[in-house]
Amino acid sequence: MSPPRYFAFPESSRPIPVDGGVKARSRRGAIGERWWSRRFIAVLESYGMSGRLQRGRNYARKGQVLEFELSQGKVAARVQGSRPQPYTVSIGVLPLTTAQWRQVERRLASQALFRAKLLAGEMPAEIEEVFADCGTPLFPRSAADLTMRCSCPDWEVPCKHLAAVCYVLAEAFDDDPFAMLAWRGKGRADLLAALRQAAPADRGTDGRYPEGSSPGLAAPVTAVEGVSATRPALADVTGPPLARSLADFWSSGLSPARLRALAAPAPAPVVPDLLLRMSDPPAVTVRGQDLRDVLAPAYERLAADDAAEVTPSRRAASPREAPTSQA
């Protein structure tokens, strides 16, 4: 009888590197950056398995999560571990009953605040109370509220694969608070339609509309390589293919004056650090100071009138003098 074969502990082996996993997403949005996803992560952390969680986070960053699908009440994912066959992972949560949803919707529709904040990409703090009042907490209170399954041989729950998926999920919540509500059973489009219906004002809309058809909303931003806010704003301006631009190949479509007008200085904001006030910097400290306080002087200096600038050396005082000056 041969000695029993021992499986190598999965955590001691290296996972198979993955190309094209959900990595790009995990690099862009911080994991658990906003208060609502932090609350969600806190549930995981309450399990007290920090080493496993740390590895799960690394998995998430490396892009070991191959597929990730958020649907009502369930997240289904596949995670590449050290074996060739990716593990199947699912995280379930108890969806709200139809009656519960109706109750929640009524409450959410009663104040414009909820929709306003959600549409602006923020989970309104008051929403927790709404869910609690309706007898179904927004955040899982304990492991018992979640159904976690993974096909790996690791018997601990959550294993690192589950943890990785949880991090990716938290990140989805960061991006779009509607995702958290979708997980609880009602997708963005359905919820908004329901809220429109439930809103007391008299209206003639029928409610439904296709996902993402409403332009200009703070819809989830798709992952962008290289971090740019200008690129999404310009992504759909392609210009005609070069081969079809032969007639006007050299010139801009605008007259020089019109072109220059596009770069004419715009009025300066009333406060130099407007951007710092419009959105919260990450909770990072530099030498014990908040990032906001460290950066604020930079905006003063950017706006300073005498700040150094690449200025065109102004034309000579009397340009008309120059050409024929031989005297």
């Binding site: 690099r27 862009r28 949005g29 911080a30 950056e33 104040q111 414009a112 605040l113 306003a116 904040k117 602006a120 960061d174 007391p200 004002a201 209206r203 409403s214 332009p215 200009g216 909303l217 703070a218 971090v227 740019s228 704003a233 992504a235 301006v237 210009g239 293919p241 070069l242 050299w250 801009s252 479509g253 007259s255 072109l259 596009l262 770069a263 715009a266 009025p267 904001p269 009333v270 407007l274 951007l275 006030r277 990450p282 909770a283 530099v286 030498r287 002087p297 905006y299 300073a304 150094a308 065109p312 050396s313 034309r315 009397s318 008309r320 003098e321 050409p323 024929t324 031989q326 005297a327």
Partner: protein, 1068 residues
């Protein structure tokens, strides 16, 4: 000649050039066909390009040294064996089929920030030997846009992961308005900019904007954001700190060495990226809008009714109404109540759910407007209710903040306007003072004055003020009008009441008080004076003064508005005040100035100064609420008239002034102080003393400032005063230092658009009057130009209007004074080079004409010579046909540029006729680059289809367009009535043909505002023949209808007279 192009590729600006002197085609390939890209046949070598840059003014040479040579493969339009040339190169396009082909092109690679410097230098300064292609101009605009984003603080820090580790960058965040501009900019990208890779325009522009904004932010920030560390440096500095440090260093890299570092960097990069994404407001066709609405007026029966004491209540019901607003047409609004009710205006048609648009905006705005949170507790909020304090905060802080963030904000029209201030009222001590005969009056005149407290146009009694002060609220309703009551203003007003509020002061002090604008904390909001002083202060003196008749000995008739202008110049001069004559081009600034000089010469010797006025009864400082910056030049009134007038103008205008003076004021003793052999020392002093008008250039005035400073000038006049727009230049300093009893600045460009220029020009005319450049900047230039402050703009208009006379050719009163067609000659000088070529051509012909065996040979020689001389007058490169550079070699071209610049600045369109298609072809790229407007060119070879397209474009464009036409092609059958200017660069010598061309602009509607300019080179055959045509003497019959061939019939002696170059052709 090089045509320089540029593009953003591989994280740097790539500059390359086409060289006119190289062959247009590549050597045909032999042997097996290969797909490998070939060397671009006429792309300049990187070294040649660097050399060309090195010859230009700094900073280009030092930038050229920083550049690295490289090679790019560009896909360019290609016909057969050669890539197509850019239009700036001026080659005829081939008739062959055009495809896209790869060409290897040497490039100079310039990294940021040097690249931004290069673009600024090339785009804003016309270079003599380089033509900048549209792609470079485009990149320069991109760089400027990015720099403006940085200056407005529209950048956030990010940590970017690249191939070689992490880098800390400032990336732009586009406000909705910026996003629209960026999209327009992406749409306008010349295809050439994409020739290195055919990346979509938007993505390419995004990368360039990110890089340029980062560079601009670093340039502006310079020093570190963190204080220097004291004591020992810790072994490991935390990653966030290193990132912040790398935001200001030239090398943006953040070293990541340990795995902990890497994890931390990844976290921070993600967090910063999330921040960047959340800061970007969605840009769409609608935005959320906030409108502040004042409480309804109180019931008439209630206490505090109109007419009674100021009324207010702390809990007044202010509302900020919520609405959706169209970003394209801000006048389209849909109130929130309608949005909740499901209404959708026609302009909202495309939007599925306006309520969600509104909600998303409200959710984002709540961060800047905390009071909004409370309103959002309702299911369908229509407005935010504020108390008076909240309303004031909205007026002063929140509103501007929301507007800056891209939301729509509407404030009541009294906001930031009706403020507590002082009103100064004066009454003449002597009776019968009207501005009719102002010369009897001076700045020493005593007037009675009285200061009152006022709010808007309401006077406030001390009792009312006391009541206001007692209420201690910042927003009050005074007699039905709401007023922001600044605490500091209130205190200053109470203090003011303790002082004397009336007495006497001099007219000069009133003038200064109006300009000084009251003490900092209590603005002087209005000055009301009667008589001439009132006319002066209201800026209406020119209309109130008795027009001055055309002076004796003036060879022309002044139009009514010119008589008014003359009276105004004379009035200000008599008061010892400097004047800025800023009439539109073509209204005759030159004529008015010459008439002024003629009038003061005709005037009897200045009457003895008015009986020595007692020194101004300077009120004791504690009684005078306003500190007067007494300028010495203000304290004496002098009658200009004795002594010569010095006229300083750009070199290109010397000939014009000379000719116009000879024509209109032949009696004036004229001296032109210019040229290498100009007078100096005692000789100069003697000549000047005996002259009425001395003409010189800015260059000579600067060089001879010591000698010219010795003369007691009756007046110093700066023509084209934009030449001294930069007060720090030597020319500006020199003319300011010349002693003069009166100063006049003349300019045709609207000075009110460039405030620093306005200051510099005003400071020449009235030194010290507007205060220091720095103070002016802080008080007017920055509020007006950076923040669009209408209050500061209004005040600036008020204080400058006594000294600036600007009439537009579109003013009704002016149009009625103008003839149907305004024709004028533009006198140009030759450059030295033109003169030499001209002389050589003349000498050559005269040496050969006697050898001409027969009439046909002689005729041919004469006509060929005439043509050559006209080409020389146009430009040396026109005669030589060698494709050599254009700028700085022709007096005519210099004038043409100046005039076109003015036309474009006025927003007008112009037709520009030349007899020579080849000259038009030379002018086309040059003017397009130099003038900065669209330039069309119609010549004999233009197809009918192209011609129709051009004509339609010219007629329909809603911006300035310059239309070059060869006389033959453009002479007939065209409707170009959109032009308000017609320029004949060279002459056909056939009035009928010129007339016909000119009439293109008059064809329909008989517009009255068309100005026709004919260019004539002084001292050349152009001037002689022009004179013959004007006189219509013996030759008139022959001239008409026969083109130029009649010239050949002249006798040799007569011919010599006509073509000889006279010494005054070249001003030096």
């Amino acid at each position: 000649m090089l045509v320089v192009h540029g593009m953003w590729a591989y994280g740097a600006v790539q500059v390359w050039a086409e060289d006119r002197s190289l062959p247009p085609r590549a050597v045909p390939r032999h042997g097996r066909p290969s797909r490998a890209p070939r060397q671009h046949p006429f792309a300049a070598g990187a070294a040649e390009l660097a050399d060309a840059l090195a010859e230009l003014a700094e900073p280009l040479p030092s930038l050229a040294r920083k550049a690295v040579d490289d090679e790019l493969t560009l896909r360019l339009p290609t016909a057969g064996d050669g890539p197509l040339a850019s239009p700036e190169l001026g080659w005829e396009p081939p008739g062959e089929k055009i495809v896209l082909g790869p060409w290897r092109v040497p490039v100079l690679v310039l990294e940021l920030p040097a690249a931004a410097e290069l673009l600024a230098a090339l785009a804003d300064q016309p270079q003599p030997d380089l033509v900048t292609g549209a792609s470079l101009g485009y990149l320069a605009v991109v760089a400027r846009f990015a720099a403006d984003l940085a200056a407005r603080g529209r950048v956030l820090p990010v940590l970017v992961a690249g191939d070689d580790g992490y880098a800390a960058r400032w990336h732009p965040v586009l406000a909705p308005a910026d996003a629209q501009r960026a999209r327009d900019l992406a749409d306008a990208m010349p295809p050439l900019c994409r020739a290195a890779g055919d990346e979509p325009a938007g993505a390419l522009l995004a990368r360039a904007l990110d890089a340029f904004a980062d560079s601009a932010a670093r340039t502006r920030l310079q020093a570190s954001l963190l204080p220097a560390r004291r004591g020992r440096r810790p072994a490991r500095i935390a990653l966030p700190e290193r990132t912040v440090a790398a935001l200001t260093t030239p090398d943006a890299r953040v070293e990541v060495e340990t795995p902990e570092d890497a994890a931390e960097a990844e976290d921070l990069a993600a967090a910063l990226a999330g921040w960047l994404a959340s800061a970007q407001l969605p840009a769409g066709p609608v935005r959320t809008c906030f409108r502040l609405v004042e409480p309804p007026p109180p019931d008439p029966g209630a206490p505090g009714a109109p007419g009674a004491a100021p009324a207010t209540s702390q809990d007044a019901d202010w509302r900020v109404e919520l609405a959706l607003q169209s970003t394209e047409d801000p006048s389209l609004m849909l109130p929130a109540a309608d949005v909740w009710a499901g209404a959708g205006g026609g302009w909202l048609a495309g939007d599925a759910h306006p309520d969600e648009q509104l909600l998303a905006g409200l959710g984002a705005a709540a961060r800047l407007f905390p009071a909004l949170d409370e309103a959002l507790r309702e299911a369908a909020p229509a407005a935010v209710t504020l108390d008076t304090t909240g309303a004031l905060r909205f007026l002063q802080d929140t509103g501007p903040l929301l507007a800056g963030a891209g939301f729509g904000v509407l404030l009541p029209d009294w906001a930031r306007k009706a403020r507590l201030g002082l009103r100064l009222t004066t009454r003449a001590s002597r009776s019968g003072a009207s501005s009719g005969r102002a010369a009897q009056f001076g700045l020493q005149d005593l007037v009675q004055f009285r200061y009152d407290l006022a709010v808007g146009d309401q006077l406030l009694s001390p009792a009312e003020l006391a009541e206001l002060a007692a209420m201690k609220v910042p927003l009050v309703r005074i007699r039905g009008q709401w007023v922001e009551l600044d605490d500091a203003h209130l205190k200053a007003a109470l203090k003011f009441l303790e002082r004397r509020q009336s007495g006497t002061m001099t007219a000069g002090e009133v003038l200064l008080a109006g300009i000084a604008g009251g003490p900092e904390d209590l603005p002087l909001t209005a000055v009301e004076a009667e008589g001439w002083l009132g006319d002066l202060l209201s800026g209406q003196a020119d209309r109130r003064l008795v027009p001055m008749a055309t002076p004796r000995g003036f060879g022309g008739e002044l139009r009514p508005y010119q008589q008014r202008g003359l009276a105004w110049l004379s009035f200000l001069g008599d008061l010892g005040l400097g004047a800025v004559l800023a009439d539109d081009m073509g209204l005759g600034k030159t004529v008015q100035l010459l008439a002024l000089v003629a009038a003061s010469r005709a005037k009897p010797e200045p009457s003895p100064p008015p009986p020595a006025a007692p020194p101004p009864p300077a009120a004791p400082p504690d009684e005078c609420p306003i500190q007067l910056p007494i300028a010495s030049s203000m304290s004496h009134s002098s009658l200009a008239g004795g002594g010569p007038t010095l006229l300083v103008c750009p070199m290109s205008l010397v000939g014009n002034w000379q000719r116009e003076a000879e024509r209109f004021t032949p009696d004036l003793r004229l001296h032109v102080h210019h040229g290498t052999d100009r007078l100096a020392g005692g000789e100069l002093a003697a000549t000047v003393a005996g002259a009425d008008l001395v003409i010189t250039t800015y260059g000579v005035a600067t060089r001879d400032r010591a000698a010219l400073g010795q003369v007691k000038w009756a007046r110093v006049v700066c023509d084209e005063a934009q030449a001294i727009k930069n007060h720090a230049t030597a020319a500006a300093r020199a003319v300011r230092a010349l002693p003069a009893s009166a100063r006049i600045a003349m300019t045709g460009t609207p000075v009110e658009n460039q405030l620093s220029e306005l200051w510099s020009i005003m400071d020449f005319a009235n030194p010290g009057l507007l205060g220091s450049a720095q103070a002016f900047r802080e008080r007017y230039a920055i509020p007006v130009e950076r923040h669009g402050d209408p209050e500061a703009a209004g005040e600036l208009r008020r204080i400058t209007r006594p000294f600036v006379l600007r009439r537009l050719k579109t003013d009704k009163s002016i149009i009625s004074d103008l003839p149907e067609k305004q024709e004028m000659k533009v006198w140009c000088n030759l450059t030295q080079e033109q003169a030499s070529l001209y002389q050589a051509t003349v000498t050559d012909m005269l040496s050969r004409i006697d050898d001409a065996s027969d009439d046909i040979t002689r005729r041919g020689l004469v006509l060929a010579t005439m043509a050559k001389l006209k080409q020389v007058c146009n430009h040396p490169a026109h005669l030589l046909g060698d494709g050599s550079r254009l700028p700085g070699r022709s007096g005519k071209l210099a004038r043409l540029e100046e005039i076109c610049e003015e036309i474009v600045a006025d927003g007008d369109k112009a037709l520009c006729f030349t007899q020579y298609a080849e000259f038009g072809r030379m002018l086309l790229p040059h003017l397009a680059a130099r003038i900065g407007c669209e330039v069309l060119f119609l010549h004999g070879g233009t197809s009918k289809k192209q011609r129709d397209a051009m004509v339609a474009r010219f007629q329909e464009a809603d911006e300035p367009v310059l239309f070059l036409l060869s006389l033959k092609a453009g002479g007939t059958g065209l409707n170009l009535t959109a032009a308000s200017h017609v320029i004949h660069v060279d002459r056909w010598w056939n009035p009928a043909v010129e007339e016909q061309a000119t009439d293109r602009a008059f064809r329909i509607g008989q517009r009255r505002d068309v100005q026709v300019r004919k260019f004539v080179c002084v001292g050349t055959l152009e001037e002689r023949i022009d004179a013959m045509i004007e006189e219509k003497k013996a030759l008139a019959e022959q001239i008409v209808g026969t083109g130029e061939s009649w010239l050949a019939g002249l006798s040799t002696a007569r011919l010599r007279e006509v073509i000889t170059l006279s010494p005054d052709a070249v001003p030096e």
